[in-house]
């Protein structure tokens, strides 16, 4: 009995993991692109980017999922343009990239001007200053807020069910029809174990960057 439930929940958890990892894979670099847009010296680009971030952060992820999956079909008659899973990854990646971009921006803006100037007077290019001087300091400063977002993402994956992704909560809920409520509660154990592992990993990263101050 337990093993049946366990295995079926595992099937849902596999989808949860897929959404989680693919979202991180796309949103972490996309966030950097959005971040550069929101810090651009070209004013129109800066305002368009910040407006976009405002819309994405200001509306529910659930609504964004629905719009991205159903929108193309309902508005332009383009049915079957994206699969449920693709729509999920697109919506999650854009949503999280916007949050990440703001964390990156805060991190980059917190680096003292003197670090850039020290690189400049040593004849370094802008790219060299960013990648060889500033970036690691930014990473150190943003590990805590990034950790928060990443832990939130673990649980947000459950929203994907609104467009029909068979993730962990849905897997647990499907046992209710058979008169079993505990499998739904048991999904919590999966989330807890997984976020616990992530917490340990993030702590390790934090310790690894603890060798310097700044």
């Amino acid at each position: 009995m337990f093993s049946t439930v366990f295995l079926q929940l595992l099937a849902g958890f596999r989808q949860t993991l897929a959404v989680f990892f693919l979202t991180l894979f796309f949103s972490i670099p996309l966030g950097l692109v959005i971040c550069f847009g929101s810090m651009s010296r070209f004013t129109p680009l800066r305002w368009v980017t910040r407006g976009f971030v405002w819309v994405i952060r200001g509306t529910p992820l659930m609504l964004q999922l629905i719009i991205i999956f159903y929108g193309p079909g309902l508005m332009f008659g383009l049915t079957g343009l994206v699969s449920r899973f693709q729509a999920t990854i697109v919506a999650f990646s854009i949503n999280y990239a916007c949050y990440f971009s703001e964390i990156y921006r805060g991190g980059i803006e917190s680096i003292p001007k003197g670090q850039y100037e020290a690189g400049q007077v040593l004849g370094m290019t802008k790219n060299q200053i960013f990648f060889r001087v500033v970036l690691l300091q930014v990473i150190k400063r943003i590990t805590a807020p990034m950790g928060n977002e990443i832990i939130t993402l673990v649980k947000d994956t459950s929203l994907a069910r609104v467009i029909g992704i068979y993730e962990l909560i849905w897997a647990g809920e499907s046992f209710i029809k058979k008169g079993l409520i505990w499998p739904l509660f048991f999904t919590g154990v999966y989330y807890l174990v997984f976020s616990g592992l992530l917490t340990i990993l993030l702590d390790k990263l934090d310790k690894k960057l603890g060798y310097f101050r700044g």
Binding site: V121, L122, T125, V133, Q137
Partner: protein
């Protein structure tokens, strides 16, 4: 021939004219001390020379060649004529002392990695910090950090080494070690410009002293003249305050 010729540099920020036409020249191996109260434009002058600010007007000539700043590449090349040691050191916290010194020469491909390491070790010896090569900046005192910053600037062999109030962020007992290093560089023939509040240091080490007030050079000459027999009333008033260490009535 002068190693540096500065002609009529002007710089304003918004409404404020910070530099109102500054001209001077510097001979090879000379040490120029720039003194003056805060807001007199001395730091801005140094930042213009290092192209951290772009002068609105005026010319900068190094060894008979005018430095133009049309492109980013030109600006980068111009900067390499000068070195700058900051008030707040600005070491790179994630790199060891040795890596701080070798980073730029390695990125600029100034020599092989091995050559740059040997050169960095020599420079560390020069500033008396060979034993700290593998330390990180936060493990050093302010005076030690500033000496590393000096070694880092020297690693690129600048023709003119600039210091922006190099001891102002230091505890009083740590200023001596930094000033001794700068004095040692003078004896080694380095051309230097030092913005400083240390009047005694300026008097002893500088070949020329420039007193700046309100964005112009109020007075400039050998230290014996500027300190011993200042011509301008403003200079006299400044020196009276600066040299008067007593605070009692």
């Amino acid at each position: 021939m002068a190693v540096l010729d500065v002609k009529n540099i002007k710089k304003g920020f918004g409404e404020a004219d910070v530099l109102k036409g500054v001209s001077f020249s510097l001979e090879e191996g000379q040490v120029l001390a720039i003194i003056g109260s805060s807001g007199s434009g001395k730091t801005t002058l140094l930042r213009c020379l290092n192209f951290l600010e772009t002068a609105d007007e005026g010319e900068i000539w190094v060894k008979g060649k005018q430095l133009l700043s049309q492109s980013e590449k030109e600006i980068r090349e111009n900067r390499l004529h000068f070195g700058l040691v900051f008030q707040n050191f600005n070491l790179f916290p994630q790199y060891t002392v040795l890596e701080n010194i070798t980073l730029a020469p390695n990125l600029l491909k100034r020599g092989t990695v091995a050559e740059n390491k040997i050169k960095a070790e020599e420079l560390l010896q020069k500033v008396g910090l060979s034993h700290k090569a593998d330390s990180y900046p936060h493990q050093l005192s302010g005076g030690q950090q500033q000496r590393v910053a000096i070694a880092r600037a020297l690693a690129l062999n600048p023709e003119i080494l600039c210091f922006d109030e190099p001891t102002s962020a230091l505890d009083p007992e740590l200023t001596g070690e930094v000033l001794r290093v700068i004095r040692g560089l003078k004896n080694g023939g380095n051309t230097m410009i030092v913005v400083t509040h240390e009047m005694e240091f300026a008097r002893q080490v500088a070949d020329m002293v420039m007193y700046m007030a309100d964005g112009v050079i109020e007075e400039m000459g050998p230290p014996e003249q500027v300190f011993g027999n200042p011509q301008s009333e403003k200079t006299r008033a400044f020196l009276r305050n600066a040299l008067d260490n007593t605070w009692e009535e």
